[in-house]
Symmetry: D4
Subunit: 234 residues, 8 copies
Amino acid sequence: MNTDDSPLISIRPDPEREQRKGVPEVIFGETKEPSDIIEMAEGLLRGSGRAIISRVRPEALAALQTAFQAYTLRVREAARMVVIYRPDYVRRSTGGHVGVISAGTSDIPVADEAALIAEEMGCHVTRIYDVGVAGLHRLMEPLRDLLADGVDAIVVAAGMDGALPSVVAGLVPVPVIGLPTSIGYGMGGKGVAALLSMLQTCAPGLSVVNIDNGVGAGITAALIANRVAQARAR
Amino acid sequence: MNTDDSPLISIRPDPEREQRKGVPEVIFGETKEPSDIIEMAEGLLRGSGRAIISRVRPEALAALQTAFQAYTLRVREAARMVVIYRPDYVRRSTGGHVGVISAGTSDIPVADEAALIAEEMGCHVTRIYDVGVAGLHRLMEPLRDLLADGVDAIVVAAGMDGALPSVVAGLVPVPVIGLPTSIGYGMGGKGVAALLSMLQTCAPGLSVVNIDNGVGAGITAALIANRVAQARAR
Amino acid sequence: MNTDDSPLISIRPDPEREQRKGVPEVIFGETKEPSDIIEMAEGLLRGSGRAIISRVRPEALAALQTAFQAYTLRVREAARMVVIYRPDYVRRSTGGHVGVISAGTSDIPVADEAALIAEEMGCHVTRIYDVGVAGLHRLMEPLRDLLADGVDAIVVAAGMDGALPSVVAGLVPVPVIGLPTSIGYGMGGKGVAALLSMLQTCAPGLSVVNIDNGVGAGITAALIANRVAQARAR
Amino acid sequence: MNTDDSPLISIRPDPEREQRKGVPEVIFGETKEPSDIIEMAEGLLRGSGRAIISRVRPEALAALQTAFQAYTLRVREAARMVVIYRPDYVRRSTGGHVGVISAGTSDIPVADEAALIAEEMGCHVTRIYDVGVAGLHRLMEPLRDLLADGVDAIVVAAGMDGALPSVVAGLVPVPVIGLPTSIGYGMGGKGVAALLSMLQTCAPGLSVVNIDNGVGAGITAALIANRVAQARAR
Amino acid sequence: MNTDDSPLISIRPDPEREQRKGVPEVIFGETKEPSDIIEMAEGLLRGSGRAIISRVRPEALAALQTAFQAYTLRVREAARMVVIYRPDYVRRSTGGHVGVISAGTSDIPVADEAALIAEEMGCHVTRIYDVGVAGLHRLMEPLRDLLADGVDAIVVAAGMDGALPSVVAGLVPVPVIGLPTSIGYGMGGKGVAALLSMLQTCAPGLSVVNIDNGVGAGITAALIANRVAQARAR
Amino acid sequence: MNTDDSPLISIRPDPEREQRKGVPEVIFGETKEPSDIIEMAEGLLRGSGRAIISRVRPEALAALQTAFQAYTLRVREAARMVVIYRPDYVRRSTGGHVGVISAGTSDIPVADEAALIAEEMGCHVTRIYDVGVAGLHRLMEPLRDLLADGVDAIVVAAGMDGALPSVVAGLVPVPVIGLPTSIGYGMGGKGVAALLSMLQTCAPGLSVVNIDNGVGAGITAALIANRVAQARAR
Amino acid sequence: MNTDDSPLISIRPDPEREQRKGVPEVIFGETKEPSDIIEMAEGLLRGSGRAIISRVRPEALAALQTAFQAYTLRVREAARMVVIYRPDYVRRSTGGHVGVISAGTSDIPVADEAALIAEEMGCHVTRIYDVGVAGLHRLMEPLRDLLADGVDAIVVAAGMDGALPSVVAGLVPVPVIGLPTSIGYGMGGKGVAALLSMLQTCAPGLSVVNIDNGVGAGITAALIANRVAQARAR
Amino acid sequence: MNTDDSPLISIRPDPEREQRKGVPEVIFGETKEPSDIIEMAEGLLRGSGRAIISRVRPEALAALQTAFQAYTLRVREAARMVVIYRPDYVRRSTGGHVGVISAGTSDIPVADEAALIAEEMGCHVTRIYDVGVAGLHRLMEPLRDLLADGVDAIVVAAGMDGALPSVVAGLVPVPVIGLPTSIGYGMGGKGVAALLSMLQTCAPGLSVVNIDNGVGAGITAALIANRVAQARAR
């Protein structure tokens, strides 16, 4: 009898994608084995000289630290992100400027994901955290400074009522990316109310990404900022 | 053959309810025939000397104006509410003070429902309308005045992103009743995002009623204000 | 290469909030590390002389008991709440009176959250528990006593069918706060049917908070009661 | 060219169904043309001597009255039901006893559907209408009478919060069929909250049918009552 | 300082309920500590001489077996139900006859819950299990036998597509109670599709209970059967 | 000032699609103006000699009959479909055999959509209509005949409980396409329960299309049947 | 008696908003009376010299054409948008370049809303319409041209399966704004599936707005393009 | 007292089903004890000589390997499937050809389920994996090869945005079965967006199965392919 498996054609990762899109490949660590992450990271290090891994579980972090002792590691534990650099890697600085604002303490890990990927895309990032809706009057000053510093795009992370992105987008003349986080409970919990509230915003210039998609929000903001920076540079 | 209908026991409207609850009966006009509304209004006028009708359709309004020419009518068309008073009726003034704030122009009919029922329950009502989330900084002054005037409870009506009630509840030391309106479209539309965002509020002291339930929000606010006023009066 | 993190501006907790809102800060323990809770509690104790922590996990409870041996601790385990008092702290008594009613045994932890926060806001609290819808006729007497004692606001906690708050609000002349609990299974489970049923209530004077938000319900009730008490005191 | 339609095999209405099931065929009028309803009614009149039509639109009602002048018509307009009897038809009386209770005025059409189909199945039906949750204490007496009269099954119709069926099922020792109606608005509106609340009931002996399914509720109640009556008759 | 807990009024379990409703009290074991279950069981044993516990967890089962060695225990492990009888307890036999049919093997625990509670209410129960929709033609014979044996009510348990209750209700002249089980995956999983399909049934005489509510389905069926049996007995 | 519209590049209909896919273009009439439909139909008639229009509104039907008097029209009014043939058009006959089964009378328009498109794709179509779940035993004979006639694929249309496709797929050895229709009301109405029940089917070999997508179901069935017929023809 | 309405404080439209945000005010016409639209338009014309109205109903269009005969009107009927210019108004040209791509013919009105607002914000707009997912291979060439022309941001409108924005975002190095349209039927209809699919995108650099929010998508794209153009201009 | 269990009639597995349907029985391992799986597998081995088990948990895999040492085992761990063959078993080869395409790495286990069951039904299977929507242009070549090899039906597995099946169905002239996988997060996660997007497809010839139902998709594809192969063989 014949139990051989059927033929398999695998369309391998697209080598030209980072260049075509201007966005680095990000390894999503949550559902992958440490050995798979290491193998994929090695491939990226051979290519671009850098490997970015998101949602790294503790056991994978330990494995990465052991496997890449000869490399430089950048670890932001709260955000569960790790970046590995080949010793000769030099991160470019584009001149783009991204702001990342978060509503509550629990939104920080997701906000930090956005900040870190924007930094890795060469942007200067300013973070303004722990801005509750209750303390809005105290947001005004840092926001004014941010605009004075010529910020190109702002990511606003919020869970629960998701009100902060609408408030910020009502005040600033730059594109705002709403980043709902899975903070919340009961009806509309796990970020659902936050996302819906952002989709229903009355403020112009607010677009959104899915719940907890810090990487996606950071990439969009950095794409905008880098395009502006490129124009400035000419 | 026998086609007689089965026996019917009807538990009539509860005559002691207004007295027991401290809340007037409100006739919900939307799904009733003009003749039914008139009959019910006549009953209430015989009893308490006043009939309040919400969600009055245009044809019913005309019928009411014809039927009750000998009475005083209070008509607030945008809110689709009508109050009919027996000539000898004197509306009591309790000394309670209710604030009603609305986010957008489209929220006014529902906000006005809340304001009118609170007035009919004897409260002094202050309305602050057209407060967009974008114009929050300009809300501060009227809000300060409202508190200085000793407001007892505040209703905040908002559709779309539903952010305003959370913002107000973060600033004031009185109970706030969130009143979501059915303004909104697409995902989370018809007031769903607004309601969910209010349920997920980070601000303490905010409770909510169902979408477009202006009468319910006004009754709750007036119950609170009247209880405070009663204590003040002692 | 440069891997320094981006600049971070943290808008620290709002020191004037408790005074401005008349509501104590509550540390939400569920998603925080014991060390973080202890640090935040120390800050609150330095300030107001009291720290309230909700949703305390067992390991955090042990850590708190060790860390604050020199303080007075009030622990209500079923409700997973802990209050820590500086030895010199004297809880004020406002004269406000709050009732807390619960439908089933499983609703007690959430109901107790509401009761405890209202007590900490200085209210006198009467609890009536284990009132099934089936035993409604036996609720009448304690409810009459509660009204005779001059209760200012009533929280009614219920999961499953969520019918009790509507029944109570149909009988009493004081504001009722519906508190749905996450008790329930299958379609409409986890408190969804209870919340929806309360939002659809036919009874006037019922407003609601989100599922399991005992703290929020208690704060709203206490805000009402304290305002009435303040008026009485004048 | 050939555009003949494909062959069609139609499995005709099941002639033995009424006898097999003990339930009369009901023509659902809402989505049918008057001419189709007349044709189907003629078929049923030829067979069993009676045609029951539910959800009759006004234009169909007029057409039926014209077409069946030689017959006896039973019309219950609010419930939009019509029954046509062949002159020689004698409705059997089974001795089964069904109770139909409704919460609000708006629930009556659906409740009446249940009452009428139970009558057509030969049951004695007692209707108790306009029982608000707020007036529960006044329901006790008629309910006691109903049980004393030996009611076999009770249908309880309710929209909005859907609390009444749970309350009734907590009090009576007979099977209760919860009949949610599409009365309600906003979140949980159109009968959704009512249905979910009934599914989550804490009271034993309550089963439910879909929203506005008055015919289904009446059939189930009559099936039960007729089975009991049959046993009694032996 | 004063940290005494607020006064607590507990409306104790309703001692007359079993007699008033004709339905035994059932202790829901899933969310209760073994010690609580034992205490409640002792109370019931003192009263009626029998304690029924559903959703018993393994650790609770062991504790019950230890605590009640002097009593007779009836354990149906798959259904996670335990019944404890005082030595002198004699279960009455009412003469009512209930059928319980299940679609798949995974539906058996929930179906058995229904069967067992009906037995404890004194009914004779016939179980027909593992009837797939694919094998419908083979259901005919046992169904015919069931009707010949004079079954009074039938519970049909099904998860997944939930088609079986509609099929059975289309064939039999007795009331059918649809019992959706939480078997299923993906869209409409966890019993949602099964419940919705039953609510939408085209077959007359089918009412439903919530997902996995075996106890509720069994009680309703037994209430019907016992009422019929009582009539037969006269 | 300049108000010229921005440049517009329109990627015109794909001329090779019918040939590439083996599926004719279908004009969706519901949301189109009669003049637009006529223009698009003329284009198709010039190309393939045939134009198929689905969801034709009455006013469009009249316009088409006027505009295409010189052509042969095939009109199936209940299904709201029209096919226009150039006089010289000869519909090919592929030898594929498709069965179309429908549960209720209200499902026929959608079932007929499936039948008609399969016929236009050259298949022989057998329709078996009005098969209620209650009359399953009478479905057996026509189903046996269908299989004996060598049917290649079967479409089963059902609304309400959506049980029929699962029943059929449990009996036949050919692929079944479940076609949920928007018949149904209340919870799970508008075809939702039917679709979910089909997705949860226990029967192997059943795949589904979206609610009311008769055209899609017919195309899939015809693609299968034509492929089989092609193989037979070799 | 006193029926005077309560005092009303209206926080008028924010005169500095257009300048602060860089986004023109847009009058949402759908829910407004023609007279209200005219009044609001007059206000805007006095201020900025231009009034933009979206979702204009036919009767309002006629009223606007009559009222503003002395002005220049730009009407794009399919998109239901009207722009009114004061004779001396000169629309600025920013040098920003926005692309607008739509999947199907039915998506054009919403796509045109986005195009028109971007034009009014001074952008050069290129529209590529009627790109089906089936014809993806033919999208390549116009997309390459668009990038060669230096497009700064791309709006991609799609209903039904919502697949096109993900496909485009996978190919281009500029920010893409996904614009779901309410085209679709059955499960996931009215744009829900399209929006969810965009939120779940695998392609980097895609953010979204709510269903049918063409104005919001166009504003976000123009904000990006104008910021880039401003940098270029320096 | 009598606690005997009620009589139980078990309608045993349908021995003629595999022959009647042309589809092998598959044991769903996820919710079964290893001992139950072994017993069921022994039954199937005695009958057809082969046992297929899906969703095998690690502990069950070990137990199967121990229990069936004398048999040939085919284990595909990622897909969690095991096939056990009696030593004399010869798998038939039908000549049918099925293609299985997957979008991302995480979709492979579910795609492999489909591939393996199709192989066990005698088909030749070609697998094309890791086709991202971003790399669509590189899919063209293997797809062209697949069609040239005479593929009869194609399964396309995708999670997240679920766009790939629509893209493939737009290009090929064979039936496509969309297989949504539970990959995805936030709003529309766990495969919901993928399933809805497939149901809303614009491409003709795409039908779907439920989320993660790899076995169902593979069976449908193989039923089609085998029917074609059978015709070819004649």
